[in-house]
Amino acid sequence: MRDMLKLFLAVVLFTAVSGGVLAAVRNATQERIEYQQLKFVKGPAIKKILEGCSNNPLSDRFKIRDGAGERNIFVGEFNGKRNTIAFESFGMGEGGPIGVMVAINLDTDKVVGVGVTTHKETPGLGSRIKTEPAFTAQFKGMPIKDPFKVKADGGKIDAISGATISSRGVCGAVMQSSEVYLRLKEKIIEKIKGLKG
């Protein structure tokens, strides 16, 4: 019995110390990791969909509370007006969640651009949602209140052939963005007014 207790205590001790160390390292690196993901994965997508903006959306960003979580909102400036925002949403693809950055114009409530950030879709098939710009270009200019669906589901978006589920995932993410946008629009406008510069 005492032997058993000793074994048990040894393992508990080891895992507890390990947990403590990992929590500390995670805390210390979290901010930098977020920054790196921004720079190497989300950054290029944001720059692409906000093409032609006169500011740097990566530095003009803020966090906004949404229910229990927080969302990163990136602001784009066009013709001297900060009227465009971009943020990331997720839809379910075939291999896992698909991250989609959606840019929306606050004045017209229309989609400015859509770009895929992270995904785990099949290379060569589902991955074309990211590599074929013609697919995501279809969303451009659509009113945010429109239902975003592929044609097979009665919508307007041409799915990539052989990648219907992945295409559906992107539509799902854009749909989610539209919900979030309509829910948070007022708060976002307020926050942008508060941004300095």
């Binding site: 040894a10 393992v11 390990s18 160390v21």
Partner: protein, 197 residues
């Protein structure tokens, strides 16, 4: 203990160089040696884990009950691997994207657990440190050698810098999976011939 600390260190560089002499840890060896940058990155990551886990295990070897020693070793190793993963994400994100799954897989790398069980659990801290460092550097050298051969011939570059003129036609076989096996086989063959003398 007949061997000196220096001998413990140098044995990892030649007599017991992991992939060529111990023939351990081959999975990442074959997979990541497509480029010199990946090879060095993987080697450094493994060296860090090996040195840290060797030292810690050697320090606590007297308090670990024999029956749960493997579980405790794995906890120690997994902790350091996660630390490496987080730090790499924070400071070398592009490298992290390239090495991908092979970083977390260091946990189950035979070299690390092998050194813990065969050496650190029976020897003092200084000797274990020397052993870990030697084996780690040996592993890095081996990966780098393989990576140089494969990258130079398979891609015509060294550390992403072109080495041959534009007229060079890359020998693509070398950067594909079969090329890795052939390369490793030739290296083993050379090592054996040299070792016979």
């Amino acid at each position: 203990m007949a061997k000196s600390v220096v001998q413990e260190f140098t044995k990892g560089l030649w007599a017991e160089i992991p992939p060529f002499r111990l023939v351990l840890g081959l999975c990442p060896t074959l997979a990541v040696t497509k480029g010199v940058e990946n090879g060095i990155g993987m080697g450094v990551a493994l060296t860090f884990v090996l040195v840290c886990s060797n030292v810690v295990i050697s320090l606590v070897r007297k308090i670990i009950p024999n029956k749960v020693r493997i579980a405790c070793f794995i906890v120690v190793i997994a902790t350091f691997v996660t630390v490496v993963e987080l730090v790499m994400q924070a400071f070398a994100y592009p490298l992290f994207l390239k090495l991908g799954i092979f970083i977390p897989l260091i946990v189950v790398n035979c070299i690390v657990l092998g050194r813990a069980e065969a050496f650190a659990a029976k020897n003092g801290v200084v000797a274990s440190f020397a052993d870990g460092l030697g084996i780690g550097i040996g592993y890095t050298l081996a990966l780098t050698t393989l990576a140089i051969i494969r990258e130079v011939f398979g891609n015509g570059t060294f550390y992403n810098i072109p080495v041959f003129g534009p007229s060079f036609k890359p020998f693509a076989f070398m950067v594909q999976a079969p090329g890795a096996f052939v390369c490793l086989g030739l290296m083993l063959c050379i090592m054996n011939i040299l070792g016979k003398k």
